[in-house]
Amino acid sequence: MFNRRTISIIKRELKVRLFSRTFIIMTLLIPLFMFGILALQTYLIHYSGGENAFLIVAAESQSVLDNVQTELLNTPKDSDGNIEFMFEQLSNEKLDMRLANVRNEILEEKITGLIFIPDQALENKKAEYFSKNPNNNVLLNKLRPSINKVLNDMYFAGKKLSREELDYAKNNVDVTGFRVSADKEIQEEGVGNTVLSFLFTFLLYMSLLFTGQMTMSSVIEEKSSRIVEVLLSSVSSRELMTGKIIGTSITSLAQMAIWLSPLIVLISTTWFALPPEFTLKLSMWHLIFFLLNYFIALITFLGLFATVGSIFDNPQDAQSGIWPIMMLIIIPFFIAIGMQTNPENQIARIASFVPFASLIVMPARITLVDIPLIQLVLSIIINIATMIFVFIIAGKIYRVGILITGKKPKWSEVVKWFKYNY
């Protein structure tokens, strides 16, 4: 499989991919894109719309109203959106009338809404909000703590409790995590490794998809530009596929090593002192495992992507063929992300030994918990076996598909290709 011809093809792939402007651009762009997506996600979740609001705050009792007024006006204003209040006392019976009164103004959005705190709220903490858009959680979230505080204070005021007792009741329990591991003394656990496992998972996910798509389109290009027949007059289809996949994998591995180089500097030197809550429990072995695992993942998934590329002769048709492979990457990605709340959940444990899923879940798991060596070795063996299996199947489809052009083949036809004597 590895001979002069395969090496020539690897060399060309490296020349085209590794030593190209695209490589430099992508190496910079993918992390930017990744953090960009994260930043965008965070921004969108917290985006309030930034509008100004005009609210009527009504309470049945004057004392509740006064307290809420003091509390709300004392709340520091935030940057997005200014809320103006109008406070008024309103009895339960007059609520309907008042609503009919302001109905048009609410519909015309001159008044954003009316929040009504009945006396009952002092017992059941239930208030009512009338608006054209009652699901505006951003707005309600700004009001809720103040109203809650007023109701709490007024409720406990009659109970003869001290301020300390009250504060104690209001405080949530704070659990500090300590990691118990085989070889070290017990250490306090920071969020560093959680961040890291998230980073590993995201990098793996993004670059497998990117590289996969890239490999697929390069196979489609060779097929549709018909150069493949010239190549096959010199090399076998297996040599061609192997050379292409290894060349692309080396490029992608180099890219990953560049991305991880800050981490290598971080853990191998004492140049940078991280705050204790971000301290990383990470050794060089983690990174070596990660890169080895990534290389196996690349060859496995690129084999699949190249196969899909060989079946179709244009990118549009190929889209229908890649979704099963995308699922093999996306589902483990969600498992790995979900695992960060509990790294030892049953699904994560199983997934880290399931072919394909293991490649994405295991790297995230080893950054969060200590995995016995035997399990790591087992997962590598499973992954290498999967890789070999994929390569055999991919080779069989590839050698037939690469020479077939014209109409989009049916899956049943692709199955028949296995039996072809090419």
């Binding site: 002069r4 011809r5 020539s8 093809i9 060399k11 060309r12 085209v16 290009e221 060779e222 530009s225 018909r226 150069i227 493949v228 027949e229 010239v230 190549l231 096959l232 007059s233 010199s234 090399v235 076998s236 020479l403 028949k416 004597n421 090419y422």
Partner: protein, 303 residues
């Protein structure tokens, strides 16, 4: 001694028989034509000879041993469907394809430059292939097939899409290679080219070899009672003549079959008597085109 022997090759695609028990031999130092209409099985046969497809049955023998990977290094192949890496530069692409054949170094580069100059492409060696015209890309592809100085040259429809000047240039190089005692196999549906270039042929139709051997022998075998005529004037009266079996028009020329070899003289006399201006009268001659139409046109006229 044969350079290549093709023995009982068969290839099915699903239930369609693309090549059916094809056997023929390619002598050393010959220009061999694999001729047949579109879809007859030429490309599939060539792909099996190149070891790109494995045959369902049969084998290809190269100078006594079955072909394998080592054959690929000795062969230059110009496929019918042309294609190159569009984003690569002309010279880089040529050198890469030569490297796959095991040829590297300054010598190959020098030779590539020579060929480029010959095809009037010297100034384009650093252009990307996508910037070249289709005809020029085809020339680069042709250079790629001969650059590593192969012993065998396989050209699938080499002349399609070339202008007359480059067609002649290609023909010159093919004849040059012939003089260097290389084995040249070309497939074509253009009978005129085959007739001018090839000394041996195999004619394939519906996947079966229907005719094979040396071109001159084949022509002698088919030429009896046949007259090739180029003339001015209406010759339709020949259809009513007692000794003419059939008259076929090929545009500029006619193929006339007489009932007996001795009738050729009478045919000439008759033409002169009828004031026909005879430009060419060749008795006992037949064009490959006529043979092809006679053999392959029987069940289907779509040639």
């Amino acid at each position: 001694m044969y350079a290549l022997e093709v023995k009982n090759l068969s290839k099915y695609f699903n239930d369609i028989k693309a090549v059916d028990d094809a056997s023929f031999t390619v002598p050393e130092g010959s220009v061999f034509g694999l001729i047949g209409r579109n879809g007859a099985g030429k490309t599939t046969t060539i792909r099996m000879m190149m070891n790109i497809y494995l045959p369902d049955s049969g084998e290809v023998i190269l100078r006594g041993t079955k072909i394998g990977q080592e054959f690929k290094d000795k062969v230059g192949y110009l496929p019918e469907e042309r294609g190159l890496y569009k984003k690569m530069k002309v010279m880089d692409c040529l050198l890469f394809l030569a490297e796959l054949k095991g040829k590297t170094g300054k010598q190959v580069e020098r030779k590539a430059a020579e060929y480029l100059k010959r095809f009037d492409l010297a100034e384009r060696k650093n252009s990307k292939l996508e910037d070249l015209s289709k005809g020029n890309q085809q020339k680069v592809q042709f250079i790629a097939s001969v650059l590593h100085d192969p012993e065998f040259l396989i050209f699938d429809e080499p002349f399609s899409g070339l202008d007359p000047i480059n067609t002649d240039l290609l023909k010159d190089i093919i004849l040059e290679k012939k003089n260097e005692r290389k084995v040249i196999i070309l497939s074509t549906h253009l009978m005129d080219f085959a007739e001018k270039l090839c000394d041996h042929i195999a004619m394939i139709d519906h996947g079966r070899i229907i005719l094979k051997g040396s071109l001159s022998e084949i022509k002698t075998q088919f030429a009896q009672r046949n007259v090739v005529l180029e003339a001015e004037g209406d010759i339709s009266f020949l259809n009513n003549s007692d000794f003419v079996e059939k008259v076929e028009s090929y545009g500029n020329s006619f193929g006339i079959t007489v009932k007996d070899t001795s009738h050729a003289q009478e045919l000439l006399k008759l033409l002169v008597q009828n004031n026909i201006k005879v430009n060419k009268f060749a008795a006992n001659e037949i064009s490959l085109h006529e043979i092809f139409v006679t053999l392959a046109g029987k069940d289907n006229d779509n040639v």
